[in-house]
Amino acid sequence: MTSLPDTSKSGQIKLGLVIDLDTCVGCQACAVSCKEWNTQGYSAPLTDEDPYEANPLGVWLNRIHGYEVADETGNGRAVHFPRSCLHCEQPACVSVCPTGASYKRAEDGIVLVDPDTCIGCKLCSWACPYGAREYDHDDGVMKKCTLCVDRIYNENLEPEDRQPACVRACPTGARHFGDLGDPDSAVSRLVAAREGFDLLPAMGMKPVNKYLPPRPRRDASTAGAEPLRLTELAGKGDAMERLFGWLDKVLS
């Protein structure tokens, strides 16, 4: 049934990710690890079309964007921005599904697609504001992040591996997995401490995944400082700096 489970009661488990935009370095390890695991797991296959041709197209459940944020002084900072399914509490992708193939699990809140009943109408991808769903033209069904449902409960894996592949792969600890329904969980405390936020809260989907904002610049040497000009070095500093300053003046 595409009617949604009641997730408002206390004690409801809401598994999700917390993504730290301050420490993410955009290395794509999470995206590659996701593709590697899920092309042989629950969502298998994650088809690539024409992978070695001019216009390759493929299903990826995790995409890493790059944005620049310019403050009022004109100083910019790069923010790497991983984007995947947010396992919303009110997922429109689930309620528009005509077949019930798209569903939200009552026990842990994971949003999944049943590949055996999906008809591939793509309406769920239209209903999602976050672009989290990718259609597999080869398989004829919709694919999406499963929160590695086939890892996190998998007793054949070592305990430290029972977390989503993206979280396990992240070299900077920018991705955290846990129960966001429990206010005392490590992820919930992290969200509270770092003022984690929802993406597009006005869309009303109540995402479970949270994003942690980049930390403020610490001091004047990194925040709002005027960029150093080589010409200003002319006549200052040691001999080498004076030489470069003079060269810059002559050449520019």
């Binding site: 299903v59 790059g66 005509p98 999602c128 672009g131 006005a202 869309m203 904002p213």
Partner: protein, 314 residues
């Protein structure tokens, strides 16, 4: 949004078919059993053929058409499912009405009931089609209260133009048919114009800063896309049509509707030599305008996910 031809054929052909069927139901309810068997049979056959072609076409864009029956299960939450259920339910009174209408000895009360039930359920089905789009909050062009009325108005206009054409061919043209056609075409023009104005004036609620949550820190700009080639989301949701092309096509839609309107007025005058070609061309032009309008309905629609891929507003 990417315009899928199967969906355009589905919504326009089934819309025209349901419009025609609804009018036949009204005619049957008002006038009792059909006075001309061949005329009535032709109208019914054309209506059901258009509905059938439309519904079959709607399965053409599915990844698994053989599982289409599953789409009837989630009517409690999904407008697409409701549309499927309504389409199938409409066949019951529709076919029963057709059977009774062709029977000269049919009970007029039963015929009237079946005719009105066909009319009502046809309208419900087209409204469900419109609601599939109108219910999507992610696409501001579609999440607009005029979208479903426009779907209904197009169904009525194209259906009545078709009925007018068939009636003229059978020498049964009536002023009332031309009047309904002309009036519904005017309604389409008015609603469409209001909708175009509304979507043009609305710059979009959200910015890239809202989508990323980084807007509180400053002005957000995309500097790196997540992949070197395209992807499904960009192809499906990122389809864009240049504004000047859109304006040209909008004018073409309006011109088609005005031409159909003028021709239905020619049929209205009842000049016999002109009535048949005018009515037939009016029906064809109204369908062509509906088809082009539906293509534009997709091509002009902007999805909020575009913000993650560099759209400044959505």
């Amino acid at each position: 949004m990417h315009p899928a031809y199967s969906v355009i054929v589905f919504t326009t052909a089934s819309g025209m078919g349901y419009g025609l069927l609804a009018l036949l139901g009204m005619v049957g309810a008002a006038h009792g059993p059909a006075s001309n068997w061949w005329f009535a049979a032709t109208c019914l056959a054309v209506a059901f053929a258009l509905i059938g072609v439309g519904l079959l076409s709607s399965t053409a864009h599915l990844g698994h058409p053989e599982r289409a029956w599953r789409a009837l299960s989630q009517w409690r939450s999904s407008w697409l499912s409701r549309e499927g259920v309504a389409a199938i339910v409409t066949f019951a009174p529709g076919l029963a009405f057709g059977w009774a209408w062709l029977d000269p000895d049919a009970d007029p009360y039963l015929l009237g009931f079946l005719g009105l039930a066909t009319l009502a359920l046809s309208a419900v089905t087209v409204a469900c089609t419109g609601m599939i789009y109108q219910s999507l909050a992610t696409i501001r062009h579609w999440h607009h209260p005029l979208v479903t009325p426009i779907y209904l108005a197009f169904a009525l206009a194209t259906g009545s133009a078709l009925l007018m054409a068939i009636a003229e061919i059978f020498g049964r043209g009536q002023v009332v048919l031309s009047t309904i056609t002309a009036a519904s075409l005017v309604l389409v023009l008015v609603l469409k114009r209001l909708w175009w104005r509304a979507v043009d004036r609305d710059p979009g609620r959200f910015t890239m800063g809202d989508a990323t949550g980084l807007g509180t820190l400053g002005v957000v700009r995309q500097w790196e896309v997540p992949h070197t080639a395209g992807n499904f989301v960009m192809n499906e949701m990122g389809y864009r049509i240049a504004r000047k092309h859109a304006e040209k096509l909008r004018r073409l839609v309006a011109a088609g509707l005005v031409l159909a309107l003028a021709l239905s007025l020619v049929a209205f005058t009842g000049i016999e030599a002109l009535a048949i070609p005018a009515a037939v061309v009016a029906a064809a032009t109204s369908y062509a305008a509906a088809f082009l309008e539906r293509w534009l309905f997709f091509a002009e629609a902007r999805h909020v996910v575009g913000l993650y891929y560099g759209a400044p507003r959505a």
